[in-house]
């Protein structure tokens, strides 16, 4: 009696849904471990670097002089003075570079997306690709040959900015191009259908729609060129004092200060190296932060 019942109770065919098989569980575990390890490998050096820089450099940043004074008249062994002149130099060189690279880059991207057809567009894209692969030392040497060699002009912060333009331009063109391509063709057509000419459609519809992404791209490109070292080694001299003139005289930037103070083996020099490194990281971080804030404010609202 009981045997018949158990036969009846047993399902005629195996249930449709089976538990997860052992093989799949194992594969899942292996993959999870591998991905986790890869993440650690990527993150550990970054955290290590940050800890080292902060640990060795933060004491330099604690004094008010660090942010407000230059190193003018400071002896190698003295723990006084600051990097105000180098912060000014880094910001000036980056801003001048951006003033040139952003309009040219954005306009080039508009050409490529909205107008470019055929050979000229292909050549431009190809050149931008090549330019983005040019090492910074090559860009610096090119400007050196042109600015100082051919034109016979002296070393200056402006020459540095020019070589930074070569490095920043492809990044701006690329990021702007991508943002403009994200703007749906339907929006352009909607504008044309209202009898709006093409140039006005680009200025009033396409650019505002892509603005947030374009601004983010520009800010990130600026953060990227801020730490470039090769151009400042080749194109401008080191100075211990403040210089606001980008066309004349030596002007120190943070990378140049770090490079110069490396030759100072005294504890004061080492502290200045790590302090300047930390200052540079903070500056770049601030730029990234501003990029995030700006893009959030200029982002398209839906509520």
């Amino acid at each position: 009696m009981t045997t018949t019942e158990s036969t009846l109770d047993r399902p005629a065919s195996p249930p449709a849904f089976q538990p997860v098989s052992g093989a799949r569980k194992t594969k899942n575990l292996v993959a999870t471990v591998l991905v986790g390890l890869a993440f650690l490998v990527a993150v550990v050096p970054l955290v290590w670097l940050l800890i080292t820089v902060v640990a060795k450099g933060f004491t330099a940043l604690l004094s008010a002089d660090w942010w407000t004074h230059s190193l003018k008249g400071v002896l190698p062994e003295e723990f006084t003075g600051g990097v105000y002149h180098a912060i000014i130099g880094t910001l000036l060189q980056t801003l001048v570079c951006a003033l040139i690279a952003v309009p040219v880059g954005v306009l080039a991207a508009i050409y490529l997306v909205e107008y470019g057809r055929g050979r000229l567009a292909r050549t431009t894209t190809f050149m931008v690709d090549i330019l983005s692969g040019v090492p910074s030392i090559v860009a610096a040497l090119f400007v050196f040959a042109l600015w100082i060699g051919t034109f016979g002009l002296g070393q200056s912060a402006f020459a540095v900015s020019l070589s930074l333009v070569l490095l920043m331009l492809p990044v701006v063109v690329r990021s702007t191009e991508e943002m403009l391509r994200l703007v749906p063709q339907e929006l352009r057509e909607a504008s044309y259908a209202l009898g709006v000419p093409k140039w006005k459609t680009i200025v009033k519809i396409v650019l505002p729609t892509a603005l947030s992404g374009v601004v983010t791209g520009v800010m990130l490109a600026m953060a990227r060129v801020m730490g470039e070292t090769a151009p400042v080694l080749v194109l401008v001299g080191y100075s211990k004092s403040i210089n606001f003139n980008i066309f004349d005289g030596n002007m120190t930037s943070l990378p140049l200060l770090i490079y110069t103070e490396l030759t100072n083996p005294l504890p004061a020099g080492q502290l200045r190296v790590w302090g300047a490194a930390l200052t540079l990281i903070i500056l770049i971080m601030l730029f990234n932060l501003v990029a995030t804030v700006v893009s959030r404010f200029s982002a398209i609202k839906t509520k």
Partner: protein, 258 residues
């Protein structure tokens, strides 16, 4: 306001591809003409060539004539921007300008043409939104972004934007295909009202819709893939849906193909 359109022997090409072959039709003013036909038969292409919008696609060109009250819009002396201002268009998917408020969306055409008088702009915005049956729903939130509206409201916003520049003709490219039945009904009612002031040409895949809203219907078809699309026949909507002249039209309408 409300001009007639005469299309004479229109051939449309994309590069070397012959997309539409020899279309001749007439659209009287203050009427609704529906284009129906299977996918790829060229009805949207014909619609887009009526306000020179197809030229936006690289390599596209036309042969033949499109006359707006007797004036050839393809004449070499004619500015395509002016043509598009006179012949407005509503697209398949609602596409309000994402950076603009509801009010700015409606008056975008005027603002971009240089009108800056606030009072005038506000009047046009209200009149156009009333014309698009949207005023009651949005009058308290005109400064909210256009993207905050529902799909059906966005499409009526786009219609309001199109009529704000006071075109003579309104082209609609499947304006309801992305909308739910209730929004579709709202747009269809609106089309019925708009035809008092505008000449309307509408492309639709929905034959009931063509039967409901249009005065005359044009049936397009193509012989096969890679072949150009053709206008099979154009007649009063009642005739097309009850007793068409062509067998192909009857087959399509009765659902035997397509």
């Amino acid at each position: 306001m409300a001009k007639r359109i005469d299309v004479k022997d229109l051939n449309i090409f994309y590069g070397k591809f012959h997309a539409v072959d020899g279309v001749t039709l007439a659209v009287p003013p203050r009427s609704v003409t529906a284009f129906i036909g299977p996918s790829g038969c060229g009805k949207s292409t014909v619609l887009r060539s009526l306000n020179r919008m197809h030229e936006v696609t690289p390599g596209a060109r036309v042969e033949g004539k499109v006359l707006l009250d007797g004036e050839d819009i393809y004449a070499s002396s004619v500015d395509p921007v002016e043509v598009r201002r006179t012949i407005g268009m509503v697209f398949q998917r609602p596409n309000p300008f994402p950076t603009m408020s509801i009010r700015d969306n409606v008056v975008a055409g005027l603002k971009l043409a240089g009108v800056s008088n606030r009072k005038q702009l506000n009047e046009v915005a209200e009149r156009s939104l009333r014309g698009a049956n949207l005023w009651a729903e949005v009058k308290d939130r005109l400064d909210k972004p256009g993207g905050s509206l529902s799909g059906g409201q966005q499409q009526r916003l786009c219609i309001a934007r199109a009529i704000a520049v006071q075109p003579d003709v309104l082209l609609m490219d499947e304006p309801c295909s992305a909308l739910d039945p209730i929004s579709t009904l709202a747009i269809e009612d609106l089309i019925g009202e708009l035809k008092k002031d505008f000449t309307i040409v509408i492309v639709t895949h929905n034959m009931q819709q063509a039967a409901r809203v249009s005065d005359q219907t044009a049936f397009f078809n193509l012989a096969g893939v890679g072949q150009p699309g053709k206008l099979v026949e154009i007649d009063d909507t009642e005739k097309i849906f009850s007793n068409p002249n062509q067998q192909a039209t009857e087959d399509y309408i009765s659902g035997r193909f397509g």
